[in-house]
Structure formats: structure tokens, C-alpha cells
Symmetry: C2
């Protein structure tokens, strides 16, 4: 379940139809990160009475077109009124596409850390609503036994690495390994968020060259980067990123 909220996840520069599409795709990205297949959704809309019917129609049209495209049935919903607000939340039900699902836990010290695509500057570039959720990639990764844990990067790498990191460990990642979108600075790539890329851990003893060759054969156009690996808390090499300096997106202060 993930929302889109006016002023936070979209504004007047984003067409209403693209907002509806983004709402679905944000949630598809979560299903992708488990290696799942999307099935059905319900939507909850909260809006000021001043929102135009035209905006709502275009929003729903964008959502419906995207739902058809991804084979999702919108099976219910709710509309409520609240002043000065335009927000919609979607709950997406998925099912396992393989014999298992991937979760955020399962990585171990020594495991390799991979990320798809590029990070940072999602808002100024329009990536935050134009992205394509990594459903195919997720469904492929869940079938690879060497992949141990996965999450999608929605709050920024610095924050989303946390739940993937095994207890007593820390990521050892050199700054120059981070794949940045365009001229994104390091801090932007680590903390902007809304990247909707897959971040996952591969078993330390895996055959990395074979894994990367198989990826390239299957996903010619999706960049894959090995960022580094998990090390014990007290043994992070000099020259790697101190993630304690970055907080990423924080919901509650």
C-alpha cells in the first residue's frame, strides 16, 4: 500500500493521468521487489471538494489504462472529503510468480549488493512518474537461487539499504560505484528517493560473472551495478561511504 499526495508525490506539473499511472506503478514496484505478480487493487481517494471532475476523470483514466496494461483488476474503493487535500492510496494484492517470494531480510555478511538502473534526480527529470516498474526483472531475480533479499529503492539508497543490511553488518560501497542519473550529485543519488529501482543481495559464493552474463542476455537495456558487499560493522574499509552521514527520506521526525 502506497499513496500519492499532492505537494509530495506530484504537483500541477504532472498531468492527472500520469498521477493515476504513478499511483499504480509505485505499488507495482513493491510487488516487483518481492518477485511477485500483481493481481487486484483497491483505491482510497481523499480530496477537497474543489478538485475538478475533469481532473478526477483524467486521473482515473490514467489509472485504468495502466491497470489494463499490467493486468491488474481494480476491484473496489472509497472516496472521502477533506479540506486542502488531494491524495489517493492504493492497496495492491499480488501472488508469488515463482516458488518463493523475496523479502528485505535474508542477506548475510559477505553478500554482494546490486542495484538496477540509475539513482537520483527523479523529481526534476520526471522519472518519478515516467518510470517502468521492474516487474520482469523482479520475476527473473526471484528464480535465481543466489538472490537472497530484495527491496525497491523508493526512499533513497541510503535509507533503503538499512532493511536489507544483515544484523551486525554495514554496506561497503565506494562512492564511485553509485550509478547516478545524469548529473546527479552523490547526495542526490543516495537520498532523493523515488528511484523505483531494485536493490538486492547476492550470495557471497555466487558466480558473479555468470550471474551478470545471464542478466545481460535477458535484460539488454536495464543497467545492473554491483555496488559492493556487506561487511562486519567494525570492518568497513576506508574510502567507502559512511551511510551514517545520510538519512534519506524520514517519515517521522
Amino acid at each position: 500500500v502506497d499513496p500519492v499526495i499532492y505537494g509530495r508525490h506530484f504537483d500541477d506539473r504532472v498531468p492527472a493521468g500520469a498521477v493515476g499511472e504513478k499511483l499504480l506503478k509505485r505499488n507495482l514496484s513493491d510487488i516487483a521487489a518481492m518477485g511477485g505478480r500483481p493481481v487486484a487493487a483497491v483505491i482510497s481517494v481523499t480530496l477537497d471538494a474543489m478538485v475538478s471532475l475533469k481532473w478526477m476523470e483524467e486521473f482515473y483514466r490514467g489509472l485504468a489504462a495502466s491497470a489494463r496494461h499490467y493486468g491488474v483488476s481494480i476491484v473496489g474503493g472509497d472516496v472521502a472529503q477533506a479540506p486542502h487535500l488531494l491524495a489517493a492510496s492504493l492497496t495492491l494484492v499480488g501472488e508469488a510468480s515463482a516458488g518463493r517470494v523475496l523479502t528485505r531480510t535474508g542477506a548475510r555478511v559477505g553478500d554482494w549488493i546490486f542495484v538496477t538502473g540509475e539513482l537520483g534526480r527523479s523529481l526534476p527529470t520526471g522519472h518519478h512518474h515516467a518510470f517502468i516498474p521492474r516487474l520482469k526483472e523482479g520475476a527473473w531475480l526471484v528464480r535465481r537461487r543466489e538472490v537472497r533479499a530484495m527491496i525497491d529503492v523508493s526512499d533513497g539508497l541510503a535509507k533503503d539499504l538499512h532493511p536489507l543490511t544483515p544484523p551486525g553488518a554495514t554496506p561497503a560501497i565506494a562512492a564511485e560505484r553509485i550509478p547516478r542519473r545524469g548529473d546527479a550529485e552523490l547526495r542526490a543519488a543516495l537520498t532523493d528517493g523515488e528511484d523505483y529501482e531494485l536493490l538486492f543481495a547476492v550470495a557471497a559464493r555466487a558466480d558473479l560473472p555468470a550471474f551478470e552474463r545471464a542478466w545481460k542476455r535477458r535484460f539488454r537495456r536495464t543497467r545492473l551495478t554491483c555496488l559492493g558487499h556487506f561487511v562486519r560493522l567494525d570492518s568497513r574499509p576506508a574510502g567507502t561511504i559512511d551511510f551514517g552521514l545520510y538519512h534519506g527520506y524520514e517519515h517521522l521526525r
Copy 2:
């Protein structure tokens, strides 16, 4: 999926724990109206950064206690920030408790209209958060073949009768049949909303006395009222309520 929004479904007079409980129970009422059994839920919270951690903890405690009580697993959720807002939306997944589920459609001209409990003045009396969702009643009704369609009264009887009414028909209900809560006036009983009672249609040819006897044996303390029946649009008897005069709760104006 149904929300609770500050200023709309609760205010400072309602303890945080009761708000969490209400959020779950609103959705349980929807499952009850299908004759379903609740299974699992996800929650989406949108709040101003100024909301106290104490309030949130009590809210979650109330929600969790209620979820335990009703056997619901809270399996996921999301928190987002928005200024001047405190809202939470819950999506509840249920399963059929019998061989079928009841929906809003299925009533025919001639069918009897029943409602549980009493209507109106839900806010001033605290019923809007203290109510007990009609899960047992719903699970019993879905097993009675003479029950054809059901809905819960959340927006007020005048509005919630609409989706239950068959095409080309209208309800024929005398004002004195409406079971009112305390000193609720007729308009309040028809339009206040948040009653969370079950409204359902019973086949015209059913044995009403036998149905009502069976209800009384099973639910000694839950009032059941036969309001009237559905007639053809052009044949509503004089002295029955003209529902065209009442609009109930309207989401979009």
C-alpha cells in the same frame, strides 16, 4: 477500504485508541455486509509532522487490540507526511464464510427490506466509534437463502438504500417504521450516517414470521426491523417516505 480522517470521522473528543479501533471496525462492517470472514489488513497513514508520538502509539495500540480481538492480521502498511492532516486508511481482505457472498445487487420488486439496530445520532452518542460490527449477523444472513442482497448503513439509510434498490423500483417505507436511536428525528435517522447496521433484502415469497423467529432465537439482543418492501417506481403508496427529499451523505458535490 475505508479511512478515518481527523475532523470528519473523529476529533479530539475521541481517544486515539478508539480511533484505531474505529478504523478496523468500519472495514469489518463492510466484510459483515457481504457475510464474509475478515483475514488480513494493510494500513496507510498520512499525517502532519506535528502529530505526537504518544497519539500514534495509542492509535496503533487500539488498532492492534481490535485486530487481535477480531482475528485480523495487520500484514503491512505505509506512512506518509502531509501538512494539516491526520488520516489513516485500512484495506481489509476477507473470505467467504459460507458458499456465497452477498452483494448490493440481487433484490427484486416485492422483496422485503430489513435493517438491524437503530439509526441516527451516531456522532453525538459516540455510537460511531463504540459500535460492534455485525459480523455474526452477516455470517448468519449469508446462510439464509431468502436473503438476496445486503449493504451496511454507513452513509445513512437514504443514501445506502439506493444501491440495494432494483432497477425500476423504489422503497415503500412508512416513516414510523424507521428504528431511531434515542430521540433522533426522522431526517437524522435517514441521513446522519455512521450507523454500521446491516440493510438487506428478503425474497418476497419468504416465510417472514419463520425468518424473524429464527433471528430472535439466534440474536436475542440485536433488534431487527422490517421497514417495508420494494415497489415499482410508479406505485409507491401514499404516506411512505419520498427518498428523493433526502440525499444522505454525498462525497462529491
